[in-house]
Amino acid sequence: MNDRNRKIGEYIPAPDDDVIVCRCEEITKGEIRRAVHDGMFTLTEIRRYLRTGMGLCQGQTCTRLVKGIVARELGIRPNELREATGRAPMRPIEMCILAKDKEEKE
């Protein structure tokens, strides 16, 4: 149960708010922190709202960083936040290659 109206305090600007956290989508720490105060309490919501981890690397680099920032803002442990679901394709793949799928018969 996750009460979205529980008190997490006000958003207080921090000197490192302009540090980029998600490199692929160029999302800053401050944007992530503000999103939490706008009610985005899960990594999936942050991702849907800000596009963190939605770029070419699919969150391989920033997931752990975002998790840490969101957890801190919410006052919880990072491992209480579930990572966004893994989805195919595991690596970016050209449309023309994905279009060529075949089943090898034995």
Partner: protein
């Protein structure tokens, strides 16, 4: 915990209703069963804001939303919902396609929609990236698309700012009538919430929830699958579809293309967690490249699946339930709820407040199946 209105389901319908109610000063509590707001079709659809191709019963909702709400929505929600009103092209390449498109066009025009058939040449004037395969298309210039994630989260954010109370991870087990009216919402965690009105907007799960007060809506879960590409330089802003409905989609503000897929096997997906199929994305890529050869080298970064609540007659139930006073149903959106969601949110708030609705909802009555 009590509220004047309890909304079961934190998807875009529930969030839009919450926003309209909170704006009115009504106390509202939204219960979302999953961990995430907007976790069902709201965050998994292709983002179409269409009137063309709609069932005539649904068309007034779409027209109303487009005429009165979508353009203002980004300002209203203090969130860029990435709404583009650059028209909808529904593409065809065969005689059979032409027949399908002509049927849809005729039906739309009869209800006062600006939609017409165009030939391949004109289609390529509108969208120069189309291949020569395209020989005909339907064209509705007032259609468009938006970002479902931003619209859903925007409604949520603003509703919350206006005082709506949201709880996620709170799955509803049953509704209870108290002295003849729907009043209590009991959750799996054992909590009991009380409200004067209860709006059920929980996708396919609405069926089980409504059933606890003796109402059944004939609908079934149908898989929907979507994929998204890497970002590309801006190419076009129309919403796209095909006569065969094998894919639909658009380019987003971000530059990526979002395409909904259709392999034909979606109604047969196994129940439970929605899994992308191993074949649908490949099939869609072939379809997309057939009409957009220049997208051949763009990379697909992610695909996902979700459930839509497909109603027996493919239009939703948006209805009060006289035999269960206080209960309002909003479900069975059948995969085209996103474009009309701003209108539905407004209408639901009016039903809950017992105001006169801005549109006639008689076509969406819960008891039309009997």
């Amino acid at each position: 915990m009590n509220a004047e209105v309890i909304i079961v389901g934190g998807g875009i319908i529930g969030c839009a209703a919450a926003y309209n109610l909170a704006k009115n000063g009504t106390s509202v509590l939204v219960l979302e069963g999953s961990e995430n707001i907007g976790n069902g079709g709201s965050s998994r659809n292709g983002g179409g804001v269409r009137q063309s191709g709609r069932d005539p019963r649904e068309l007034p909702l779409a027209m109303y939303a487009i005429k009165h709400i979508w353009k203002e929505l980004s300002d209203m929600l203090d969130t860029d919902v990435e709404y583009y009103q650059h028209g909808n092209l529904r593409l065809g390449s065969t005689q059979k396609h032409r027949q399908i498109l002509e049927g849809l066009t005729k039906r739309g025009a009869e209800y006062g929609l600006d939609v017409r058939m165009i030939d391949g040449y004109e289609a390529r004037q509108i969208n120069p990236y189309l291949s020569e395969e395209v020989t005909c298309a339907s064209w509705c210039p007032t259609d468009g698309h938006a970002n479902p994630l931003m619209a859903t989260m925007g409604y949520y954010k603003m509703a919350r700012r206006l005082g709506a109370h949201f709880i996620s991870g709170e799955k509803v087990k049953e509704l209870r009538k108290i002295k003849g009216a729907a009043r209590q919402v009991v959750t799996e965690s054992g909590n009991v919430y009380e409200g004067d009105k209860i709006i059920v907007a929980a996708g396919y799960d609405s069926r089980f929830i409504a059933s606890t007060v003796g109402i059944d809506i004939p609908m079934q879960p149908v898989l929907l699958e979507t994929l998204v590409t890497e970002a590309a330089a801006p190419m076009f802003w129309q919403m796209l579809g095909t006569a065969d409905a094998d894919f639909y989609g658009h380019q987003t503000t971000h530059g990526s293309f979002v395409f909904g897929l259709n392999s034909g096997y979606e109604p047969y997906a196994k129940p439970g967690k929605p899994f992308s199929s191993s074949i649908a994305a490949s099939a869609a890529c072939r379809g997309i490249m057939h009409y957009f050869p220049s997208l051949a080298d763009i990379k697909i970064v992610r695909s996902w699946a979700g459930w839509m609540d497909s109603c027996a007659d493919h239009v939703p139930v948006i209805s009060t339930v006289e035999e269960v006073p206080g209960l309002i149903l909003a479900c069975g959106f059948s995969g085209h709820g996103f474009g009309i969601s701003p209108a539905v949110g407004l209408l639901l708030s009016q039903l809950a407040l017992e105001q006169e609705t801005v549109l006639d909802l008689s076509a969406f009555r819960y008891n039309r199946f009997s």
